[in-house]
């Protein structure tokens, strides 16, 4: 029983930053813009959340600042991929190079050359910081960001599938030329979606540095954005699919932690492979072919067929 509670708690904790990142990926890719730069946007979110929380002492402001910073970086990607019809893969890779460099540069500049921030104020837990402290039940007292991730998934799903605006986004991602003839401004929709994806990724970074751990380090975000990207494809480009994929990933990671705790015969390095190997196995066995939005990754040039 105890271990099940622990498993659920760790799963929810691990999956939260991934969910934010993956939702960013969903929003951007549904509008037809591949976003490989999620990782970089998360790193920027992570560092700016830590910096903002340190200097304002208010983690909520820091969370918003992280979203803003992620959005700013995403604007670069939007300018390149929407206005300049750039190769979106290349632009995304560039963001992934630029952002960690910028993050460390900022960190060193604000904190006297240190590659990590001091301990900063964290966001609260859902049920207050002292609920059932010391018992196994405290593991279920999740970070407030975990609930926010769930709500955001609901929100993204609702907007994408239940509103006129969402229909437009999906139309732009599937067939921009057709959407254009209906009077939808393809460029505007894509700009908004890409910037939003950066905002979500920024939140993801913040939910690592000011909710799970309480400082920025060089390895705070290491590959989370790429896992989130994989979750988007795994979840077939839908918000709930991506949410489930992140949960599965979090669960296998939690399993790794639990199995590693006891005196098992399996070496820890082999256990650590579990989340990644499981993802591949699940894909082979259950998921099958994933079909991207038709216009995903294709720049739209007005008037071209």
């Amino acid at each position: 029983m105890d271990s099940i509670i622990l498993l659920v708690g760790i799963t929810l904790m691990y999956s939260t930053p991934l969910i934010f990142g993956a939702l960013g990926g969903v929003v951007s890719e549904r509008s037809g813009v591949t976003n490989i730069g999620i990782e970089g946007m998360m790193v920027i979110g992570a560092v700016s959340a830590a910096i903002a929380s340190y200097f304002t002492g208010n983690p909520w402001i820091a969370f918003l600042v992280a979203g803003l910073a992620g959005g700013l970086v995403a604007t670069l990607h939007a300018v390149a991929s929407v206005s300049f019809a750039a190769d979106q893969t290349v632009s995304g890779v560039a963001i992934n190079l630029l952002a960690p460099g910028l993050a460390l540069f900022l960190c060193r500049n604000f904190f006297d050359g240190a590659a990590m921030s001091p301990i900063v104020t964290k966001l609260p837990k859902v049920l207050g910081d002292s609920w059932m402290a010391g018992t196994v039940w405290s593991n279920l007292n999740v970070n407030v960001t975990t609930v926010m991730a769930l709500l955001l998934t609901l929100g993204v799903w609702f907007v994408l599938y239940r509103t006129k605006w969402g229909l437009r986004v999906r139309a732009v991602g599937e067939h921009p030329a057709a959407a254009d003839t209906l009077g939808i401004n393809v460029y505007k929709v894509r700009y908004i979606c890409v910037i939003l994806s950066g905002v979500f990724a920024g939140f993801g970074g913040a939910s690592m540095t000011i909710a799970i751990i309480s400082q920025f380090t060089q390895t705070a975000i290491s590959g989370h954005g790429f896992i989130a990207m994989a979750a988007v494809i795994f979840g077939k480009w839908t918000p709930w699919g991506a949410y489930g994929a992140c949960m599965l990933f979090g669960a296998t990671q939690a399993l790794t932690v639990l199995l590693g705790g006891g005196a098992t015969v399996i070496p820890s390095q082999i256990l650590a492979m579990l989340p990644y190997a499981m993802t591949i196995i699940v894909l082979i066995l259950f998921v099958g072919k994933s079909v991207a939005p038709k216009a995903d990754g294709v720049p739209y040039i007005k008037g071209s067929r």
């Binding site: 670069l76 390149a80 300049f84 019809a85 750039a86 190769d87 979106q88 893969t89 290349v90 632009s91 890779v93 560039a94 963001i95 992934n96 190079l97 630029l98 952002a99 960690p100 460099g101 910028l102 460390l104 540069f105 060193r108 500049n109 050359g113 390895t219 290491s222 590959g223 790429f226 896992i227 990207m229 994989a230 494809i233 795994f234 070496p267 390095q269 082999i270 650590a272 492979m273 989340p275 990644y276 190997a277 993802t279 591949i280 894909l283 082979i284 998921v287 099958g288 072919k289 994933s290």
Partner: protein
């Protein structure tokens, strides 16, 4: 002016412009943060090219990223995004190390076997990713990212295993020295070598103070070979056809699924060669515990993109990249500016590489301006006559 317009329309113009913009952005960031940009760039060039030893190190460090770059570029040209170069590199280092530690043969056998083991490892992992895409339709990006991490932990497992672990260290045992491809690695430590090299200080420095090895030559040959394979052979044509349009390729009778596996196999083999050459060419000649991805694969992506995904273009791109990274370390030592500025610079360069439209637009704008001038000139002429 016509020459400028003509130049701007060439693909290399956007690469050169991107590099220029990279330096400008870095200069602005440095200046804003309160560092002297000119001094920093001087330190950068000094640190990359100032001594024979530095140049040798730039070449040594360019070798693996040239190969991963070629691997990525090759796959990209056939429509596949091999973000798994990192994992294929690690797979190769693991197998090369295991073979090099286990076998103790004369160099003529040891070197090829150790290298082949690594190449086979990278190729097998690449082919696995290709197979999953061809057979089950699983996106190569997912499997690549997953296998990158699986290989990282597999490497740590092998390092820590009883059979290969070097006691009291964080690495595995080194491979037998007959597998080294370091240039003159036995001779250069002898007294005779020290005497012989005393007269040629630059050679002495490049040889004795670095791991100068034959890897870069091999890498250049591979880059050229891949380029020929893609552009001049039937197989290359088929692979590219699949990349352009899968359905059309299938209709033309090209076995699409086989092409996908084969392409990933070749790409993986090249990335694997990068790992094998690092084991045979560079101390400590073995694998060590990895805390995070080392970046050979991701730097390969950057090299490939700076090169515009041309295999031969990866040669100068890898040298540039490695020069920036290696020289960047002295920016921190000399100027105190964070060496992360180099990553900002490289990121900016790749970002502007993604925007070939910019140089084209500048060219078009210049052309229009020239035409407008000419038209204005024509309009002015009759006025003069009157």
């Amino acid at each position: 002016m016509n020459a400028v317009i003509k130049f701007l329309k060439k693909p290399i113009a956007s690469s050169l412009l991107a590099i220029l913009v990279g330096f400008i952005v870095a200069a602005v960031v440095l200046a804003v943060a309160g560092y002297d940009p000119i001094g920093s760039f001087a330190a950068l060039f000094q640190g990359a090219l100032g001594k024979p030893k530095y140049i040798a190190n730039v070449i040594i460090k360019a070798t693996p990223i040239l190969l991963t770059g070629v691997g990525v570029a090759f796959a990209f040209q056939t429509g596949l995004f091999n973000i798994g170069a990192e994992g294929q590199y690690i797979a190769a280092t693991i197998l090369s190390s295991i073979v090099g530690i286990t076998l103790d043969l004369p160099a003529v056998l040891e070197i090829p076997l150790v290298i082949l083991a690594g190449v086979a490892g990278g190729a097998a992992l690449g082919a696995f990713i290709g197979f999953l895409k061809a057979r089950f339709g699983i996106h190569e990006v997912i499997t690549s990212i997953m296998t990158n991490w699986i290989m990282l932990y597999l490497c740590n497992f092998v390092v820590m295993s009883d059979a290969f672990h070097k006691p009291n260290s964080t690495s595995a045992l080194p491979i037998h020295s007959s597998g080294y491809i370091t240039i003159l690695h036995e001779w250069k430590t002898t007294d005779a070598a020290v005497d012989a090299l005393a007269g040629v200080p630059w050679l002495r420095e490049a040889l004795l103070k670095t791991d100068l090895n034959a890897g870069f030559i091999i890498a250049v040959l591979v880059a050229v070979a891949e380029s020929i394979l893609l552009a001049r052979t039937k197989l290359g044509y088929e692979l590219r056809a699949v990349g352009y349009n899968k359905d059309a390729a299938l209709f033309a009778g090209i076995p699409v699924n086989r092409s996908i596996v084969l392409c990933m196999l070749i790409s993986g083999a090249v990335c694997g060669l990068a790992g094998a050459l690092n084991i045979t060419g560079i101390a400590p000649h073995t694998i060590t515990l990895l805390a995070a991805q080392e970046g050979y694969g991701f730097n390969g992506l950057s090299v490939a993109f700076i090169a515009g995904c041309s295999c031969v273009g990866c040669i100068p791109a890898s040298l540039l990249f490695s020069g920036l990274i290696y020289g960047g370390m002295s920016v921190q030592q000399v100027m105190g500016a964070p060496s992360d500025i180099i990553n900002i610079m490289i990121g900016t360069i790749v970002f502007f590489i993604a925007l070939p439209a910019v140089t084209r637009r500048i060219a078009e704008w210049l052309e229009r301006r020239q035409e407008a001038k000419a038209a204005a000139g024509d309009a002015a002429l009759p006025g003069k006559e009157a």
